[in-house]
Amino acid sequence: MMFPYCRCPYLLSTKPIYPYFMPYTWYFSNIINLPVKDLYETYTRNVHFSPLQSHILPEWPHDSKDEKYYLSLDPSPSTKLLRQTRSHDELNNIETAFRALIETDLEKALYLINHETLPFTSLFWLRHDIEKHGVFDQLSLRNRTALSIVNEILLGKRDTLSMPCSYCDYIQTVHSVLKWILETGSIDDGLSNDYDQVLDITAVLLIKIYRDKTILSTISDMIFKRYTKGHFINDLVWAFFQSHDPNSLIFIADHLKSEEPKEIELARKLLRFCPSIDDHSKTLEEYTAFTDWLKENSSFLSFTGESFQQSTNPMPYVVILEAKYLYKTVDLLTGRSFEAFTENESLLLDEYKELDNDTKILLANFSYRLHQRDLSSWKTWIDYPIEKQLSIAKSNREVR
């Protein structure tokens, strides 16, 4: 279901905006030259409006005369700065500004903190001040939900729900907020141990509970950036594979083409369960071999759940050779065929299971390739007794 997104009024505005609280302003310099459609999509992918928004946004606040609150729409050095991960110093400046504002102009402070373009990082950094000044109840639903999630993750505080919404709305709100945390927060990954832990658990919740695969690319980027810095990746890697989506492996395989040796090292480590990853080939050849392998086997893969907590070389996916041999798509989670077997197929399978592994692989690969190349010939071949199938497969090993 699509959530009712709304376009940000600033996109059409030339009004100055508040850099510290709204670092999403760096988007403007990116999207200002995009066609309207692209501009809309770019925006809606990243900033949303909760369907349960209980707080009506206040009117545009009185313009401050303090220059530090302003940012031009023109791409300037200051906007470039905001594209980068912010340092602790910059965040401390935000904190100082927020503290001053909350004591002098609470309404404005709340307007800024509740604004839809606020990135999660700012809310996270200001959470102690929010608590200290007792303004939690005046936060937007998004912010209250996000801070409650943060408290549950970091402090184990499981708040009883006191949200003015239905269960169905609640489910959707939490999903939206988790996505907001990860999408706007990932840019500042590495900010602190607690911050990274919140992002990790957010990713796990989005994947394990909401089955949200749209954030896999973001998670993949975080994994590789962390690895090059020597930071903790286990939970993110686990979350990534828990998506049960073999096609997402392309996000990892892409890093085989990287010029950064650490990225190649990790991509190889994560894809080692695939026979085409051998550490000896050139990485571009490995990438091609991997994509070929994935294309050939994706319909016959079964998810095992293995992770680095369990094994030195986890094999999260395995090829179900019986399925490949009979060209039957399998259920990724059970490894069982979606289709029932005919009597002849059952007999063939009984014989196939008795073969040694090398012969099984030979027959399965031959069957797949013949099926792809010539369906009519495949139908003839699969009806032969298994000895004759094997004889044909052996004399046609080169079939591709």
């Binding site: 658990i201 903790f232 369990q310 094994s311």
Partner: protein, 255 residues
Amino acid sequence: MIIISGTIISLDDFVNQYSVGPMERKILEILTASEFIYSYRSMDYLKFELDLRVNIIQAAKDLYKSKMDFKTFRQSICNPDFWERSEEGGFSVKNGVLPSDAIEDIFINGPKYGTECATAIIIVYYKALLNILPKKLFNELFSEIYLMNWKSLDTDLGVTTYKKVPDYLPGDCRYIDNPDVDPLTPHWQGENVIDLGNGTYYGHGIGIGTADKIIEVLEKYRKAEATQPARLLDSVTTPDFKYLAHRYLSFVGSS
């Protein structure tokens, strides 16, 4: 059955040459009664595996007694006199410290350490090897120990996971999977345990108990309304007994 140089070896053949304790005898009984062929280059290789398995069990019990804490990698702790904690939460031996001393310290100053279950198994392996290898060989073989689950292992340990094995032996590392783990506690997604050979297992952070008891504890960390139970998997993880025996026997043979 056990075969050495083409000859089937009985329990008595072995007992006539070496003194064996009850746990070694138990392992030998499983090996000799199996339909699977366990092949060794010599009795000494078999003896080494038995010794190492018994020491793995002892090291697991000792680690439990050491009171090493359970901590996630994000919150892992180590004694800074011997170890350096990495950004990702692993431990590497500090410059100027002997790996043997660093491993020993974990068992002496257990409360100064805290990590997850997979790392605990690696610590158990190192301690078991430290118990039976000459210190010089231990420090040569494992000069750059890095403790961080299964991800970054010393190749000389030769740790391998087997999907299915013909027999389960005391000293095996098994895995109890918890597929419906609460997303807020991903570190309880499963528990690596050492088979103590008496129907109980050691799992760091849970303790010593039967598989059912460990499963019961793990299932406390499932998500609300979980449907999938935790279960002991068929897989087995072990160090490379034969390679380590070869290194040991070569070392003692040449010294």
